[in-house]
Amino acid sequence: MLIGWTAFVFMFMDIRIFTVMALLGFSIIKLSKIPFKNIKPLTYFVIVFSIVNSAMLILITPEFGSEVSGQYTVVLSFLGRDITLETMFYALTLSLKYISILPITLLFVFTTHPSRFASSLNRIGVSYRVAYAVNIAFRYIPDVKDEMFTIMNAQEARGVAFRKGDASFTKRLGNFVTILVPLLISSLNRIEVVSNAMQLRGFGLNKSRTWYNQRHMTKNDFIMIATVLLFVGLGIYMKSQTNYFWLY
């Protein structure tokens, strides 16, 4: 679904389609009842990213929109270059494009169980050693995070500044680098222990493995896959009928 959606969105540069997709996406999010608190950081990140991206686009290639669309409407001149209305519209379309991918990505991140994802990756042909790495990453990221806070507390308690207002920004940045040494050493030790533990329990024994958390395909899954394929097909058809960049 994620892939289908993304493929669909990437085929176009059409603000009408993106508006529909974004609205549809956010209503699914609403239906899924994921608390807004959880998705807040990622949502803001994408919005800020889109704004910065648009600003750069307008400043660096102020005439790009006109090149794509073939129309040339000057809005204002800046440092001897013309910024065209078409470019601004192009930037808006692009931003909406990112935003319309956002809800489905969020949905994927928050509803997919890592182990089930790993087992599915394995089923579609990815080697189980690679697939299991996904699992291991999800397992140990919180541990490493905890460890980082422990180390930070220890350093703070001996007078190293990490908090705003305690020291200059560059000094604090330098202090963050110092905690990388112990963090790296303990992570390397952890890798040794984890890989021993996994080997001792037979990881890597056979060419394939089974998955405790694997889900079997249900009727709904097949219907979903068919729907997604249908939409991607529809997209390809629509694309062949229209221009790449739709201008009002």
């Binding site: 999800f138 220890a154 001996r158 984890v194 533990a197 001792l200 394939s208 493995r209």
Partner: protein, 563 residues
């Protein structure tokens, strides 16, 4: 047929000059329950790696002699073959918990052996039922305690239905109550399944209380003793290699009774035959000294919670820490010890209450300012050390403060001398042993000339020799005029070295007293979920009523004798 046979076996790691294991001859029969003990560096973990196949498959090296496991010649088989016979529970509970949930972790063996999902699930449930963790099947490792994670690992090993269970320092990261539970569980599984159980551990007293058939003592890469614990306890071999004897055995030997009169030395109850000897000694030795001193740190009515509507982690905590003394803060995991530390060092602000340092309120002090007066030494030195050279690590705090290099040099060299690290001053930290690293972390705090040093579980995972050396060193630090706070659940440490103790339970101070009084106060010990030492049990067995005075007298007469 014997299950494991070492025959003139030697092993040398490729990275090392001399062999780690030398001329091992050892036979282990099916169904035995064996304790392998030895000080750090004696080769006991390496021996464990040989049994579970990590040697030679993960750790490369040169093998001489023969090793047979089941009907395998270990030199010519592979790791997975060996692991059909041997299941291993490692020391690091987090490292071996690879699944994202309890059920998934137990299933790990089945997954790798391509057992299909329909057969897998009931077998996972059976294994979890055997260790009493079935109710937690969908929990994530983050919500489990160390002891619970270990039980899950054990279930994961039971799932593989091997004949041999190997435990590599299973108690290293557990508090006293979880240790007892873990050993009870191992005992129960041994009885029900009749599997061979091999426990590698240096906390001998805890393990011996759980029906050990045979004890193997290692030192310098060799097996130097192999006998029933009862026989071994009669000898002095444990002391000689730098291991701690059970405290009651140590006490009886110090008092000078003839232990050989008791055949079952591993059972403390049988020591009642020495009742009259002990009572005679106690009459002659009774001592009791109490001297009050100034207060270094004082907490007054401290309340704390992490979140506004979260539970209170600290409730009305008040206590005093004496100047120039060693104070132990005791309590099991979850009692609020680490939160208390954060309050004292200023990492967290209490919602109510205040902290005073030598009669001055420090509530408004920043973390930075506090760090100059209150030093904090974490349990794991690897979490503290950020520099490559020892000198730089110790100088770090002063440089951070902007002290000039000449003063730094003078103070760093002085501190290194105090800590017995002077000769290593130009070494990289990585060349030091664990105990030496621990000293480096203390040096890096001492150099700032604090009033108080707080140490979190300072001797965890260290063998008796290192433990004694380290605690003697701490006493010297105390004699330099620094107040020391030790956070610990090692009652023996508290009894031997602390002048005073504070007991924390569920965020409240439930007792503040001399350690001997706390250890003999059954109500306090029970509420705090702590376990006393076998010295108290010995006093009980010998009908001594003034238990606290007995403990006190013993420590004053014999502290350091065994070292």
């Amino acid at each position: 047929m014997s299950q494991i046979v070492f025959d003139q076996f030697s092993f040398k790691y490729d990275a090392q000059q001399s062999p780690t294991l030398k001329n091992i001859n050892l036979v282990i029969e099916p169904g035995e329950k064996i304790l392998i003990a030895g000080p750090s560096g004696s080769g006991k973990s390496t021996l464990g790696h040989c049994i579970n196949g990590l040697i030679p498959f993960s750790y490369k090296g040169a093998i001489e002699g023969k090793l047979k496991i089941g009907d395998l010649d270990a030199k010519h088989s592979d790791l997975h073959e060996v692991n059909k016979y041997v299941g291993t529970v490692l020391q690091d509970q987090d490292g071996q918990f690879v699944g994202l949930s309890v059920g998934e972790d137990v299933a790990f063996y089945y997954e790798n052996h391509s057992v299909n999902q329909i057969d897998m699930i009931p077998r996972v449930e059976t294994a979890l039922r055997d260790v009493g963790m079935l109710d937690y099947i969908n929990e994530t490792p983050h919500n489990l305690s160390g002891g619970q994670k270990q039980s899950v690992s054990l279930a994961g090993i039971l799932a593989s239905s091997t004949d041999i269970l190997l435990f590599d320092e299973p108690l290293a990261n557990l508090d006293p109550m979880s240790s007892k539970k873990a050993l009870d569980l191992i005992d129960q599984i041994h009885k029900n399944s009749n599997k061979t159980v091999i426990i590698i551990e240096h906390r001998i007293e805890d393990v011996l209380a759980h029906n050990i058939d045979r004890m193997i003592v290692m030192s310098g890469g060799e097996v130097i003793e192999d006998a029933h614990p009862d026989k071994l306890l009669h000898q002095d071999v444990l002391r000689r290699v730098g291991l701690r004897e059970p405290l009651y055995i140590e006490a009886l030997k110090n008092i000078g009774v003839d232990l050989k009169k008791v055949t079952k030395a591993s059972s403390i109850e049988s020591m009642s035959v020495f009742k009259s000897d002990i009572q005679t000694w106690f009459k002659a030795a009774q001592k009791s000294t109490l001297n009050k001193s100034e207060v270094a740190l004082e907490l007054n009515g401290v309340h704390f919670k992490y979140f506004k509507d979260g539970p209170e982690i600290l409730k009305d905590v008040s206590f005093k820490i004496e100047k120039n003394a060693i104070t132990a803060i005791m309590g099991n995991n979850g009692a609020g010890k680490s939160t208390l530390l954060k309050i004292i060092s200023g990492l967290e602000k209490p919602q109510k209450g205040s902290v005073k340092l030598i009669n001055e309120s420090i509530d408004s002090w920043s973390i930075m300012k506090r760090s100059q007066k209150i030093g904090y030494v974490m349990q794991n030195p690897n979490h503290m050390i950020t520099k490559i050279q020892i000198y730089d690590e110790v100088a770090f705090g002063l440089r951070n403060k902007g002290v000039d290099e000449n003063t730094i040099k003078e103070r760093v060299l002085h501190t290194l001398k105090v800590c017995g690290l002077y000769k290593f001053r130009n070494w990289p930290v990585s060349a030091l042993s664990y105990g030496q690293k621990k000293r480096v972390t203390i040096a890096s705090i001492l150099v700032l000339e604090p009033e108080i040093i707080i140490l979190d579980e300072p001797t965890a995972g260290q063998d008796f020799k290192n433990y004694t050396e380290f605690m003697t060193f701490l006493q010297n630090v105390k004699n330099e005029g620094i107040s020391i706070v030790v956070i610990t659940h090692d009652m023996q440490l508290a009894l031997e070295y602390a002048d005073h103790a504070v007991v924390l339970s569920k965020g409240q101070v439930i007792e503040e007293n001399r350690v001997s009084n706390i250890l003999t106060n059954h109500k306090v010990m029970e509420t705090a979920n702590l376990r006393g030492t076998s010295l108290s049990t010995l006093a009980e067995v010998c009908n001594i009523e003034q238990e606290a005075v007995f403990l006190e007298s013993y420590i004053q007469n014999f502290k350091g004798v065994q070292a």
